[in-house]
Symmetry: C2
Subunit: 313 residues, 2 copies
């Protein structure tokens, strides 16, 4: 995907998204020994960067496709993002959600006008239920991360960051399905010459880390992580982009994630979700690598269940 | 205090404080039926507006006074603010804290170099211990709210807000000791012709509400509120300013406070403390009064114990 593709994508979706603020903290900078610029997608519509890719994917559909609606399966942020993006664009969205999805997430989807179809809580049931809806309605299936239009849209967060801070040494973001890091890597590739891209990933869901080492897509052996947004599997559209443009993926423990999340909550007074804390945890874990650098950190989202937090320890 | 006093105060303290951002939320605006501008003092140094008044009070001391240090009693945000302000200005701060103060607050004071003297957890012990230190050291006692230089400093949050948003119909903030609302009322008085000032106060600590009605300083009969910053008593320096310049104080229940706090956390993704939620709760409680208005809401702080939140209900 070209520089022009990314420029066009940004112009296309800009009226439907927030240009999110970039925050800094002298305490964070002292702790890391570097300058950290937090791109706050937790302040994005629906509370996560997913709004960007969802909007772009729907806007790339033909009029005929739009009439038939869009379909996805997601129990997380993409479910709400696709619902909201579809609502903004006057398109019908059907969201396949596992029957055990948190009520708060289902309520979020309903708020944004998404039509929920429940399925058994297995990967197979999610895909087969979505396939069936596509067959019945003629709607277009949009994958939460393994889709080039989605990837391009997600890249606009980093695009905005680089417009405001063109001299970053490092851009860092979490790695789940790979949509955000692949999009960010494209933005860096096209818009910044001397910036490297770093990913953060839990040890408990380290498919991307192992894929980068082996050179082929590896599967998660566990997904037992508090970073619920990162339990997903790397896709074949994302991996080649990541392989070519991402320097390193740093893995973190569950304790690292909780500690980093708590630090950001307590010191910066912003609510970030565990998946977002993974990136800051990765930088803290290997902070000697980042001494004196200018680091852009994409805070991917802020959707947490405030009645069930990991701090009571 | 004059317009010039406030201008001078702002110029004086500006290098030592953050100019905090103003955030908006379309969800909030829809809910209230008005335009709400949140002045985010939770992002202020030490996590609360108290940094402003503490800095101004210390900067007004003579060189001789500075050498002998400053003294206060506080178990809350002013303890940390005075410590940090003193540290920035090379002045020694002694903080009298009740022995049952939360460890996190004591740690905060230590982080900023404050010297903690513990006392019995009674109002009398706090004042007598502080008096004794003043006598022994020759230090200057600085009251957390009932002090004209502190009031002037606190007013600079509203001063900044009015610089950025000169057409507000309403400025609203919480009322505890009265430093913030008195300072805000002065800023409105001098810098905005058509703006009214509204206070928010818990039913459980409604001394200011009752004082406005009776025309003289009333005492709290209870202080059994989650809004820990508002358990304090209105002072004789604050009350005359409030009486002349504040239109109304709206009281809220504990449930109102928790609900408003949760809404801001979940929808705006920022951490605000219960005392700050009181103001938004007051606006929600009487939202018919505010239809179509432009309302500046001062978010006073974001210091909460994340291991002990009120949402598990």
């Amino acid at each position: 995907m070209t520089k022009q593709n990314l420029n066009d994508c940004y112009q296309r979706i800009a009226p439907y998204i927030h240009k999110t603020p970039v925050l800094t903290s002298s305490l964070v900078n002292e702790l890391v020994g570097a300058e950290v610029f937090f791109k706050c997608e937790n302040f994005q519509k629906t509370g996560a960067y997913k709004m960007r890719g969802a909007t772009n994917a729907i806007m790339q559909l033909s009029d005929e496709q739009r009439v038939k609606g869009v379909v996805t399966h997601s129990s997380g942020n993409f479910a709400q993002a696709l619902s909201k993006a579809a609502q903004s664009l006057g398109v019908k969205a059907t969201i396949v959600m596992p029957s055990n999805s948190p009520i708060a997430k289902k309520e979020g989807v309903k708020t944004y006008g998404g039509n929920i179809i429940e399925c058994e809580p297995t990967i197979e049931a999610r895909q087969s239920t979505a396939d069936k809806i596509v067959e019945e309605t003629g709607g277009t299936f949009i994958h939460p991360s393994n889709d080039l239009d989605v990837i391009l849209g997600q890249g606009t967060a980093c695009y905005e960051l680089l417009q405001d801070y063109p001299n970053l040494d490092v851009v860092a973001c979490p790695v789940g399905g790979g949509g955000l890091i692949a999009g960010s890597a494209l933005a860096v590739h096209h818009f910044s010459d001397n910036t490297i891209v770093i990913g953060g990933e839990p040890f408990e869901a380290d498919d991307a880390y192992r894929s980068l080492i082996s050179g082929k897509i590896e599967s998660n052996t566990t997904t037992n992580t508090i970073a619920d947004g990162l339990r997903t599997q790397l896709g074949h559209h994302n991996f080649p982009i990541i392989k070519d443009n991402v320097n390193e993926i740093i893995r973190v423990t569950e304790e690292d994630i909780i500690e980093a999340m708590r630090f950001i909550w307590e010191r910066m007074k912003i609510i970030i979700e565990p998946s977002s804390a993974v990136t800051f945890a990765a930088i803290l874990r290997e902070k000697n690598k980042f001494k004196g650098k200018k680091i852009g950190v994409i805070i991917s989202g802020g959707n947490v269940d405030v009645t069930n937090l990991p701090f009571n320890i």
